[in-house]
Symmetry: C2
Subunit: 350 residues, 2 copies
DNA sequence: TTTAGCACTCTATATATAGGAGTGCTACCC
DNA sequence: GGGTAGCACTCCTATATATAGAGTGCTAAA
């Protein structure tokens, strides 16, 4: 753990704040003027030299000012940053915008949108795949003689439907019976478990199976087979905001970044990691371990439904972002999203 | 209508093809070499001068070659371009990728994705809002004592669901009855019409209404109230591809473009206009009437389900795009999407 | 009608130059 | 010993200037 003198901390903090707001390397004169200390530039230079030796700041070239290094940002975020709570009117605005959406699926999408609009960077949300969700209810609905609409409701409030071709016509009472059967058998299990048990059932000799059971299984099968491929999902919005960020403004940097967004796998891993942590996570530069994000920082917070961690949301912006402002926004959004999801969450005890 | 000599046409065609493939202004020497004519650069210069007078090409500055103007592209596309059918293996690939997706909603999304990947530009799809779709079936499903899941199926194969809080508990048979009532009453009407009639019904004194009818109306109401705001939707994918396009590579051009994508309204109008046209539409530069698209061309084709025009899809790329290659891709994709939607379209006659 | 020749224009590239910002070092002061 | 002033030095940036190359338009000749 790096230990700094009070003066060193003060100057480092000021330097980083200046660099965040101005985007230019900070020289000794500027720093001396802005830090509230009565020191000459020369003295400040000595301190800066020490900070450079510690690896907290560096000079892009011999005669420029200093800019924070990744470790500098890290120290700043860990030790120097005091995050003020977001002002109530902003909280209220976020709250309202999240309340406006009633569909849980669209709600997370609008949270991502919201983050990108408020922060002017890219908003991102991780929706974990169905496998972690619990099976809640399934219904079969006849659309036409040989097509059945299956509706799957999971305990995180999501509803999925798929049209499934059937081999024969089912009567409406058969479908209800099949659904009841299925709901009784699998209610409360996780989807992954349902899938496993389902595959097991299919192995058994179908002769001994009840007629309704066979019908239910055969219809559910294609639904759950589909699910297998279904993985976590990353929802990205406001990527275009990053076009305006001066630090990322070289087309090729943006290109790599956008390519990475397209692939999404890295983002997914990153967000998944951050879901394990309780509270805000901050990845500075390539701390995330992914090259494409070298010039970026990612601020995330998990959100939950009824105390169960469901996913992660966050903001992707330049390393040189105003952590002070971004952190509370992410924090509050995660809390409010958790709240909104819980309120409109389907009642748990039927 | 502009009339050109055979030589003029030949040279213009070659010039545009060269410019599309190289991206550099084309000089008289280069043109003379590539056009298959035995003419000296000096002669070619004379012809080029004529073409410039006609407004088909222009020189970026005194001593550069010529580049096509918007009118030049227009003439090229209208009169000179011979579109070859797409090679069968590409057709097959597109076909396969569209066949892989069974959910109609995801199908159009994957068509957009497909377009952007194949062309390396941005793919775009217009999904017209529900109001044009016809009401097909509604179902109510009890999730918990005070929450009902309403499922709305429209005749273009889309399924929507919404969780609706209710004032009291409904029995499962009540719900079935309500759905039947509703389906009988409104089946086959357009959603807009259903909405209108619904609002009318609500006006009537509720005393005289049947109990089931009241229940059905009250549940459907919130569903259809929601629909009102629901407008057409534009689905954009592969915007990031445009980062690599040299013509658009100035950050500020991209910025305007991405901003426009965010607003989407212009795109929506554009696609909506092109839906009225049968077959391929091509908007070159600001022919679309939207400033943001000045440096772009948009190639679109409508797609249909069972003979009814449903939406439009297309590609947004630089004006300097290979129309020869893009047009057949858009054309085929629209056809195949139409096919895929029709096949998996719910049977019309129940 | 076509072509060769030529002067001219404009761009892009390389090079030189000056100015400025900021540093590190040294010597000096309290 | 910590703080400060002074100064030479470095490196970046911006501005001019020269040069080469590409391509044109025009004229005159085949």
């Amino acid at each position: 753990m790096i230990k700094l003198s009070a003066r060193g901390e003060k100057l480092l903090k000021t330097l980083i704040e200046l660099y965040i707001s101005e985007g230019q390397p900070v020289g000794s004169r500027t720093l001396a003027r802005h830090a509230n200390v009565q020191l000459s530039p020369a003295t400040v230079r000595n301190v800066m030299s020490d900070l450079e030796d510690l690896g907290l700041i560096k000079a892009p070239h011999t005669s420029a000012g200093r800019v924070p290094t990744q470790q500098g940002y890290r120290f700043f975020v860990d030790s120097l940053l005091k995050v003020r709570p977001l002002n109530p009117s902003s909280v209220e605005e976020i709250h309202e915008r999240l309340s406006a959406e009633s569909d849980p699926q669209l709600l997370v999408a609008s949270a991502s949108e919201l983050l990108s609009q408020v922060t002017h960077f890219a908003g991102v949300v991780l929706l974990p795949g169905q496998h972690s969700a619990k099976f809640r209810q399934i219904e079969f609905l006849s659309l036409s003689p040989e097509r059945v609409l299956t509706i799957l409701v999971t305990d995180d409030g999501r509803v999925q439907n798929r049209v499934i071709p059937t081999d024969r016509e089912y009567s409406s009472s058969e479908l209800v019976e099949a659904a009841n059967f299925f709901n009784d058998l699998y209610g409360g299990s996780s989807l992954a478990e349902v899938r496993k048990r389902l595959l097991n059932e299919m192995q058994k000799d179908s002769e001994e199976m009840h007629r309704i059971m066979k019908a239910a299984l055969s219809m559910a099968r294609s639904l759950f087979e589909k699910e297998e491929a279904d993985t976590d999902e990353v929802l990205l919005s406001g990527e275009a905001n990053l076009l305006t960020v001066p630090d990322l403004c070289q087309i090729d940097t943006l290109q790599t970044l956008f390519d990475a967004f397209k692939a999404k796998q890295d983002l997914l891993d990153l967000l998944d990691r951050s879901m394990r942590v309780n509270g805000i996570s901050i990845f500075i530069g390539d701390e995330s371990g992914y090259e494409a994000l070298t010039a970026c920082s990612v601020v995330t917070a998990p959100y939950e439904v009824d105390g169960r961690l469901i996913g992660t949301l966050g903001v992707i912006g330049p390393t040189r972002m105003s952590y002070e402002d971004i952190i509370p926004v992410v924090d509050i959004t995660a809390r409010l999203l958790s709240g909104a999801l819980s309120i409109q969450h389907l009642d748990r005890a039927d």
